[in-house]
């Protein structure tokens, strides 16, 4: 498990690859990578793209990454299209990040998988004002 500094200004990459593809890409510019998750920064819109699985083995590291990922205002976009699994500790990290964004800011989630949408709905986290779920196809590149 290793946190890496993000490199900015890269060209958009193609979407829809496998986790292995994304892991391969992540060698170039991952924000975070471990044996079950790759997180990459996206530029258009500003945000992060997740591929793999989040559970108690990496949710703490994800929470720490998220706390410092969006310091400069604006609306952070999270692309979950390739997030295969996320447990409650992972959602807790997202909620905490969204809470800490500050007044008027929201965390916008794209491509929310059905498994995660169900969990967020039944735990009451889908209705938080600072966490917005976009029902579009994922947009991040």
């Amino acid at each position: 498990m290793k946190l890496l500094a993000a490199r900015r200004g890269r060209q958009p990459t193609s979407r829809g690859g496998t986790i292995a593809d994304l892991a391969s890409e992540s060698i170039r510019d991952p924000v975070y990578v471990d044996s079950q998750l790759v997180v990459k920064r996206t530029e258009f819109p500003l945000g992060l793209r997740f591929a793999g699985e989040i559970d108690i083995n990496n949710s703490g590291a994800i929470a720490r990454s998220l706390m410092t990922a969006f310091p400069n205002g604006g609306t952070p976009h999270l692309d979950f299209t390739n997030l295969v699994f996320c447990d409650i500790s992972g959602i807790r990290a997202l909620v905490t990040c969204a809470q800490n964004l500050g007044p008027g800011r929201v965390l916008l989630i794209h491509g929310l998988p059905e498994q995660l949408a169900t969990v967020m709905r039944v735990t009451g986290w889908a209705d938080l004002p600072y966490l917005e779920i976009c029902d579009c196809e994922a947009t991040a590149r």
């Binding site: 559970d55 108690i56 083995n57 699994f85 447990d87 169900t118 969990v119 735990t123 009451g124 209705d127």
Partner: protein, 334 residues
């Protein structure tokens, strides 16, 4: 010395009836009493009995909110949250509240019946210290086994029958109702998958669960719900249950069951049926399991907790759960 009236509190009463005419004659006066007192009334029974009551109540039925117990109570641990919502929405806004709930009927499986009886006990715990309201729980004594009626006398402080209203001398009390559930669970005839739980193994366990759930005939969506729930319970073992645990999985003709055992202990009797707030720190695992799965059974001792989650199986063709490479580790129960 002055006499002080007892503070109004939650009144939990079993209606012991035999046949539908007695169901009507036992419930309709109770409902009409609420209508006349301008109370909020929620009736949670089967669709057939909702129709029966609508007919019997005529225009008064418009003053009653009905809910289908077959849906609400398909997992009985979801019933207390419904009553909680009803009480929170109405207490203090209307002169009173009353409800009718019939979670137990002929045809419930043994596992469902067992958890319905736990639900009936936990109602006393859930509402003992809150606003005053009345809940009437019908039991069809002509249809149900004697043991079920005996248990109703243990879990209800009041009994209503042909002979009128009586205090149940067999009521086990609120404290007794909230005691940890240590009833024995039936052993499966065979286990399809068994493995140890620890922190690094969670991802592999999810993959194995998904594989076996699919082999048992669960749809991808249902399988995802099961995997999510079991992952949370296994995570509880890692975080709260001594750092490790044991997982077993099996199926019979009607259901798939996953069991997690660990060395933890659950002290809060309502842990699995208290809706979490939005605060990220609130526990959610057991609540989530009840919302995602058809039945959750919790047995907790001083140094051991067993949680079983059930998913009903459809009627379509199924493959065998047992595969040559199903990852058995030959471990024993802790």
């Amino acid at each position: 010395m002055s006499l002080v009236s007892p503070t109004p509190k939650f009144r939990h009463e079993a209606l012991l009836y035999a046949g539908w005419p007695e169901f009507v004659s036992g419930t309709v006066p109770f409902i009409r009493g609420g209508v006349e007192a301008d109370e909020a009334i929620l009736v949670v029974v089967s669709p057939e009995k909702i129709d029966l009551l609508r007919t019997a109540l005529d225009r008064d039925a418009d003053r009653v909110t009905f809910a289908n117990m077959n849906e609400v109570g398909s997992n009985p641990a979801r019933i207390i949250p419904l009553w909680r919502e009803f009480v929170d929405a109405n207490a203090g806004r209307v002169p009173g509240l009353r409800g009718i709930g019939e979670p137990i009927w002929k045809g419930r499986s043994e596992d469902e019946l067992s958890e319905c009886q736990r639900h009936e006990s936990l109602l006393n715990v859930a509402f003992d210290s809150g606003p005053a309201w009345q809940l009437l729980c019908p039991y069809d004594v002509a249809q149900l086994p004697t043991g079920v009626v005996v248990e109703a006398r243990h879990s209800h402080e009041h009994l209503l029958s042909r002979s009128g209203t009586n205090q149940s001398v067999e009521f086990r009390g609120v404290e007794g109702c909230g005691a940890p559930d240590t009833r024995a669970l039936p052993e499966p005839r065979s286990v399809a998958f068994e493995t140890s739980i620890d922190r690094p193994s969670l991802r592999a366990i999810r993959a194995q669960l998904a594989h076996h759930a699919s082999a048992a005939g669960l749809s991808p969506a249902t399988s995802a719900r099961l995997v999510t729930a079991v992952n949370e319970i296994a995570t509880n073992s890692v975080v709260h249950g001594g750092g490790c645990g044991k997982l077993r999985m099996w199926a019979d003709s009607s259901k798939l069951v996953c069991e997690v055992r660990d060395q933890g202990s659950i002290k809060n009797a309502l842990a699995d049926r208290t809706k979490p707030g939005t605060d990220p720190a609130h526990a959610r695992g057991l609540w989530l399991a009840n919302q995602l799965c058809d039945l959750v059974q919790i047995r907790s001792f001083d140094h051991m907790t067993v949680v079983r989650v059930h998913m009903r199986l459809g009627t379509g063709p199924r493959l065998s759960l047992v595969t040559p490479d199903d990852g058995r580790d030959g471990g024993t129960r802790n």
